[in-house]
Point group: C2
Chain length 311, copies 2
Amino acid sequence: MATGIGIDVGGTKILGVRLIDGEVDHVSKCNTPSTGGPGAVIEAIVETAQQLLVPEATAIGIGAPGPVVPGSGQMGPATNLTGWDRPIDIAGPLGSELGLPVVVENDTNAAAAAEHRTGAGQGSTDMLALWLGTGVGGGLVLDGQLRRGKGLAGEIGHVVVQPGGRRCGCGGVGHLEAYAGRAAIEREARRRHDSGEKTLLVELAGTRRMKSSLFVEALERGDEIAGELLGEAVGAVGAAVADIELVLDLDRVVLGGGVANRLGPYFVDGIRRTAGRGFGHIDLEVVLAELGDHAGAVGAAVLALDTARGA
Amino acid sequence: MATGIGIDVGGTKILGVRLIDGEVDHVSKCNTPSTGGPGAVIEAIVETAQQLLVPEATAIGIGAPGPVVPGSGQMGPATNLTGWDRPIDIAGPLGSELGLPVVVENDTNAAAAAEHRTGAGQGSTDMLALWLGTGVGGGLVLDGQLRRGKGLAGEIGHVVVQPGGRRCGCGGVGHLEAYAGRAAIEREARRRHDSGEKTLLVELAGTRRMKSSLFVEALERGDEIAGELLGEAVGAVGAAVADIELVLDLDRVVLGGGVANRLGPYFVDGIRRTAGRGFGHIDLEVVLAELGDHAGAVGAAVLALDTARGA
């Protein structure tokens, strides 16, 4: 019997779970305060945790956006949280407020750990979790353990898949995220539309954010630009996966995030094909994530429970 | 006090060391038999081991070319050993002949372990060893442990650095080895020379193998093609290192092999520059290997001693 609390701190919402023996027992969420700076966000985290706390709980995990130095208890800098422009200790204040040990982990790493322990990665020894959302993130499990490095491991979104290629949101050139992130696909679709290559993607979205569900609709209606952009996205992910597979000899890739959820089989089949092309001997399962939006919070709880029992 | 024997089985020579407390106490080598098939090679390995055996020795490690399934005791297939076209158990026969436990490891992985334990990788936690020779190989140490995967980890020579680029000896396209391996550089220099772009590389080499020392000479004499090809080699290695760094968050890269030995500072400086360009935050030491030709044999001995004592 192990009970823990996990809280995923995102740019738009804070999502908490109470995890009992690997199962989500209760969920609590609220909007992330957009005013009031770090103080307001910390207050919202405390409130979310308090709603989930039970006497049996032994640890609290925080899934934090941005890099986290392992064991530091700090969160930030986080570009999607207003005013959070530096590392701030949150394990200390949360711990004294809530009376339990608090562990801070990078959110995409936490989500990878969750899929490995209780989701689509179960039984895998060496796994890459790839999150295709607004941007592209990742987490690695090697020899059954989350790979944290100095806090930056798994930054797969910024590997170069096309030297001299498309510009990434980070300023770099030819990065995976510039081809496979939702925001980058939207940017490129609008650029082409503006230059005369009309696409349903822009006609359907208008001035609103181009959701992943719209990618599906445009594909199904045979839109050429959508086919091209999503084909490039799949190719880019496949190429990155093939290279990582060569270096690390993985046994499974778990695909999650908004884009993967909407376009699951399209991505899974395409990546199997593309990743296999590179070297021939690739023997790798490619599967979809199972925990959806809960992965970050579940993983934070799992990792906090590990730390609390000295694992 | 720990004494072990390590034997590196290469395509041209078999090199053995007696390792006492991490120091090479004695070296023995012979040419690799090119006739007589696997039987002749195994006999030569036994003979080399016997010359190094002392009563204090507790384990024998073999550094084998090609993939090795961890714990299998098998070596092969090995394209550079005549007639060795399948995995063959060598731990069994060698063990009974020599009366000691025998461990088989991939040679580039063994060399990485050696540099980590007794060479340029000492003190590093997360290290990539990159061997620039006829081909390009690698080995990874993560969290202080050699990363073996299912036997293929560290195959960095075949990551794609230039989609649609130069053809690799393996048949793939745009692989790192196609830009940074000695044989590939020679191939490209001859191709260009034949098509009219004259280069000292070919003029100096004639029909003989183009040695790494010749790269140095041509560079020093300002040969344009040599400058271009070696610039591309450095760029390719830098790009691959930057991507691996992003995914794994390493702290050190150790460069070894014939090409790196001859062109050490040229590569080290170039890679520091190129790898840093990709993402900005890269904080990584790039250093030259220290153990030279002994690395594979030393590493095989180190890993065999680890296994013998159950580490």
